[in-house]
């Protein structure tokens, strides 16, 4: 009787979901796949918190002079919404969930470079989140998620320090994750997997990680300086001793502009994976796509002053930042063209992931174009701090980022859970989200153009109709978001079992079972060709 070969022993190995199933084994796991699910659970909870705040805001805004909440409470609501959605949902979403789960699989590795650091990053994230939740519960902050001085450092009577501390801590989670991914991509690629054979999702995660590592520390020092000024009663942003409040804005936006690329680049990576799979075609212009990803990351560090055009920043600096902002739109546009060219003459399957991608293409393009409007100095003078800006960034972050996130979750759901989701209801939810999103946010472009300012809870009666449409749209959007929560949870336990590669996709993650065993692969895969190697149609 021959002893079982190593491969046969692995066949009997349980999936990462099996094996040890105690709570302790999950909370102490070093397995990147389990850590990804810990993040999934946590950020979903935060999404609900941020969404409730948004719902209250839209409810308030359904009537021009409603008094559902006081204006002080309204200020705290939009601050909560921004803080939670940016730092505790969007920034971790694709990197910490899909990046953690898929990245090692996609490069043929058994785990990330520093598994203990990975687990630590989740605990740090939770710690920051709990501190922020505490700040919210004891009354919140009314400065807006941007914490501009001198209001935040001197005049606000909200719990600025506590909330800033929570964000400060969460930032280290971001840094740890990014650092881990960078080293993972450099050192743990499977044999034969050269840089220009990497799937674009990996390129996107890599570029995002560079931003996370280099930009987040500046946020940390900025919050620290603001906090010091608040505690000591004096600081470097204080005009009374010759300080410049604008210095805070420079420091804050040096991080926060690249942060928006943290929120969109991973989504672009997901889009490339889904669009090639469901067009059954290689990506159009692979090298250009990879270089565009890096360009967006790099150029994204040079444009932060476009948030400060009307702040009393020098007009000449404004001209420079405006020009650089035009430039950063170019690689994004190139990517949109290349995605469309990928679909051209492809064999299209309108699966749910592709529905999300189609929505992304439409909404990201609109959001991106309106970004160019805002980058135009003279136009921004009129549009700054209006609902036009709000519509612009929601089109990109929600219409782009969240749709890409949901598309990715659906695309990789069979791999993560070993089950298929119900296609009918999933497609319905995707369409509902698309419709609801446009109803909510397109009117806001018009409102902004017509002059309705942001961060106000009442408005002139002439804006009533558009606000009502927006609020009803939000209701539809909410339904769309609740549906996946329900059916994905259901499918995790009762969905039809999925095979290793239900979509017939290329990519190393599909070369192992669904769900994968703890060590990912029976034997380390060897790569011999380019990505997206679909047979010619």
């Amino acid at each position: 009787m021959n002893p079982a070969t190593p491969a046969e022993r692995q066949d009997a190995a349980p999936s990462y979901l099996g094996g040890e199933t105690t709570v302790a084994s999950w909370l102490g796991t070093l397995d990147h796949k389990r850590i990804a699910l810990l993040y999934l659970f946590t950020i979903t909870a935060f999404f609900v918190v941020g969404a409730v705040a948004a719902a209250l805001m839209r409810w308030q805004l359904a009537v021009p002079t409603a008094d559902l909440v006081t204006s002080d409470t309204y200020n705290r609501l939009f601050t909560l919404h921004g803080v939670v959605m940016v730092w505790f949902f969007l920034i971790p979403s694709i990197p910490a969930v899909l990046g953690n789960f898929i990245l090692p699989l996609a490069i043929g590795a058994r785990d990330v470079a520093f598994p203990r650091l990975n687990l630590a990053s989740w605990y740090i994230f939770v710690a920051g989140g709990l501190v922020t939740l505490y700040a919210i519960v004891v009354g919140g902050v009314d400065t807006g998620w941007t914490f501009y001085t001198p209001y935040s450092s001197t005049y606000s009577n909200g719990h600025v320090m506590v909330m800033a501390a929570g964000i400060f801590v969460a930032g280290f989670s971001s840094i740890a994750t990014g650092l881990n991914f960078i080293v993972t991509v450099h050192k743990l690629r499977a044999p034969g997997l050269t840089w220009f054979r990497l799937p674009l999702f990996v390129w996107a995660i890599y570029a995002t990680s560079i931003i996370m590592v280099l930009a987040t520390p500046v946020l940390a020092i900025t919050l620290l300086l603001m906090g010091l000024e608040r505690v000591l009663g004096v600081g470097i942003f204080d005009p009374r001793i010759g300080g410049d409040p604008l210095l805070f804005q420079h420091l804050f936006w040096f991080y926060s502009h690249p942060a928006v690329y943290i929120m969109i680049l991973p989504g672009m990576g997901v889009v490339s994976e889904i669009i090639t799979c469901f067009s059954r075609k290689r990506i159009f212009g692979y090298p250009v796509m990879a270089v565009s990803i890096l360009s967006i990351a790099g150029l994204g560090f040079l444009v932060w002053g476009h948030h400060m055009f009307v702040s009393s920043q020098s007009v000449y600096a404004g001209v420079v930042f405006s020009f650089l902002s035009f430039m950063v739109s170019v690689p994004s546009a190139i990517k949109v063209f290349n995605w469309i060219a990928t679909m051209y003459r492809g064999s299209i399957t309108l699966s749910t992931p592709l529905l999300y991608v189609l929505g992304f293409l439409a909404l990201f393009t609109i959001g991106g174009l309106t970004g160019v409007f805002l980058a135009t100095l003279a136009v921004d003078v009129h549009l700054h701090d209006t609902y036009f800006v709000i519509a612009h960034f929601h089109y990109i972050m929600v219409g782009g980022g969240v749709m890409a996130y949901l598309g990715g979750v659906h695309y990789w759901w069979p791999k993560i859970s070993g089950r298929m989701f119900p296609e009918g209801i999933a497609a319905f939810a995707a369409v509902t989200i698309f419709v609801g999103f446009n109803l909510t946010f397109f009117p806001q472009y018009l409102l902004g153009y017509l002059g309705m300012p942001r961060r106000y809870m009442t408005y002139p009666a002439e804006f009533h109709t558009l606000n009502v449409i927006s609020t009803l749209g939000a209701l539809v959007l909410a339904v769309g978001y609740v549906l996946p929560l329900v059916y994905l949870t259901w499918s995790f336990f009762r969905g039809a079992p999925a095979g290793p590669n239900p979509w017939g996709a290329t990519g190393l993650e599909w070369q192992t079972s669904s769900p994968p065993p703890e060590e990912n692969f029976r034997e380390t895969p060897v790569v011999t060709g380019p990505p997206y190697d679909y047979p010619p149609l």
């Binding site: 604008l246 420079h250 920043q313 600096a317």
Partner: protein
């Protein structure tokens, strides 16, 4: 105790150079100040930091990728300084 380790002499040599540079800048304060004072101080600081990076932190024997990682932070810090100063230097220019 028979494994190979990095040589000791460069470490002592680097230290001596660092102390000499420190003595230079410290004693330069006794001279009357001029336009050169600040650039000199910064140049010496850069020299000291470079010695520490190359010899104490052993960048001299690392692969190029590690050296890129070592320098990339400074590159982006420079971006932050230059573009921010672009604002401060041009604020009072006539529009």
């Amino acid at each position: 105790m028979n494994a190979q380790g990095p040589p000791f002499r460069p470490l002592y040599g680097t230290y001596a150079a660092l102390i000499v540079l420190l003595a230079m800048t410290a004693s330069a304060t006794a001279l009357p100040a001029g336009w050169w004072s600040t650039p000199l101080g910064l140049a010496v600081a850069v020299a000291k930091a470079s010695l520490i990076f190359v010899f104490f932190m052993r960048l001299r024997s690392q692969v190029p990728l590690v050296r890129i990682f070592a320098l990339v932070g400074f590159f982006f810090l420079a971006v932050m300084l230059i573009l921010t100063l672009a604002d401060y230097f041009t604020r009072l220019l006539p529009v």
